[in-house]
Symmetry: C2
Amino acid sequence: MSNKLYFTPGPSGLYPTVPFHIQNALNEDVCAISHRSKKYEAIHENTVQNLKELLNIPDNFHLFFTGSATEVWDRVIENCVEQHSYHCVNGSFSKRFYETAKELNKNATKIEVEFGKGFNADDLNAPIETELICLTHNETSAGVSMPVSEINKVKDKYPNALIVVDAVSSMPYPNFDYSKIDSVLFSVQKGFGMPAGLGVWIVNERCIEKSKLLQTKGISIGTYHNLPSLLSKGINNQTPETPNVLGIYVLGKVAGDMLSIGIDNIRKDTETKAKLLYEFIQNSTNFEIFVNEPAHRSQTVIVANTVIPSPQINKILEPHNMAIGTGYAKYKEQQVRIANFPAFSIDDVEKLIEKLKL
Amino acid sequence: MSNKLYFTPGPSGLYPTVPFHIQNALNEDVCAISHRSKKYEAIHENTVQNLKELLNIPDNFHLFFTGSATEVWDRVIENCVEQHSYHCVNGSFSKRFYETAKELNKNATKIEVEFGKGFNADDLNAPIETELICLTHNETSAGVSMPVSEINKVKDKYPNALIVVDAVSSMPYPNFDYSKIDSVLFSVQKGFGMPAGLGVWIVNERCIEKSKLLQTKGISIGTYHNLPSLLSKGINNQTPETPNVLGIYVLGKVAGDMLSIGIDNIRKDTETKAKLLYEFIQNSTNFEIFVNEPAHRSQTVIVANTVIPSPQINKILEPHNMAIGTGYAKYKEQQVRIANFPAFSIDDVEKLIEKLKL
């Protein structure tokens, strides 16, 4: 593997142990075994158990695998919404979640704020008939987070709605209170530092019951990846389709590595590195922190306005074997996005900061 | 990598060059780069071009990537059927394709024959209103193929319907006439000998037009993986979501390896190995060819009835570092399924036959 550090917000640099786990998977014929075999079931179970332990997910939640987190947007709307979903939109990804619901012919409503702004529970104005509230813990395009303490208040405000949290570019950092949410989704090529091509969908029984209710009403909830189908295979540590077995294996191993380090240490390191980055940006004449409200600044995707166009910064970083993310879409040149995922050590971040002192 | 030969019909033994390509992908940071970068676009383009050349796919066809072939069943029904699909069912997988259409609330009809029997074009009795005819080139559960010459006659019989062919467990073996079909789907963990987690969906303009027509009628055709969305990104060698970049990279390399060997040689070798296997089975007192009609016998998944229960055969093969597939579902004990994919040489198959002389 090259030694280049990809501080890009997804795909991102691989978690250091990933190549080792891939090699072991090849040695152990993980890619050749049947997905209906006991050997596969043991791999699947290990991954689910390690993730549940790492993320402190209660027993009454199920954990399913999909092709991507984008797929989960689609599936959660199909399975948990008859008519009314409600979305907090503050960037490109939360907007796509909203648009997904519209494309599925749901009556989706939203509250939308300016790019760079965030949400507190008080801001939400969901219609009374809302079935699913879609929150984005970390809007990857803008580097804005909704604090977990605010997410926790949403359930008290809307006890009848299901609450799903998109944690694509923050997991495993957020310490969610699973008694306050019903579903979480994330992908593996960000915080878990893995090859892309695998999404993780966490749901509780309320989500399953909702999907079954829709099904009895004759509403299509999809096919192989609807919740009853995922559950019927998942309880046996299997999947409806032939899944990304290599990805599921490696995810279990990476989660195991993270368990050895301890999730508290990973969270503390994340905050230490974020503090280093934000302090550097605050004191730099070339950069400026983009998100004004400190409580809404992401700990995992740090976004800054830049005087020097971001592609030029990457040209400067190139000989030092580093890369950072450019701004999203129309902000490409004028912003940088720096991934602060567990794959990077405090030392890595200090090296980056040194080279960003342009 | 272990030297065990997995003659299992999916997942199956890896194509010999796969570990090498995975290592190169890691060396080249393929898993860390952005899926919106020029470097990714070059990988994507190489895979599409190599597959199009290998499979002789005309320019007016598009090639898209999904999470699995199972996903494509779902997507092709959503995008190409307003009401009426028609299915040729002769085993578990063609049946699941049919059930997928029912679950999506379509008016799906079928012709169903006994397990082990196949279809000729004359057998089809699709209703006049049929929009999509779903054929399975190779029914993996039963080892039954529909000859390409018969598939080619279906278009003449039903010129107004779209024709989709499930070639999950036969690609790259079948030499399809793309003027006679509108769509093909397959997955990579079978004939391409790759890690699972990637499906390939080939469509022509008629399929795209149909999906756009449904969309204008206000019918949901799905979201990120509907045909207009796949096309809008595909024309720039990108995907709507962050895809399985490693899988797409490796698939392009394997297709390149197969191009070097020559598809004619791969097809000839497949037939040579199938002939060896069927002749051995025919002359064996322990095994019996399952599919009576020679024209319907699969060249890529050879199924035989067995006197000795299949799990016991695998115990005998184990010390020789080989495994074969058991029968499907209720045929588990009484049948064997032997994958005859390009990953296995004539020599490999001869070794297997030697050990099957129990």
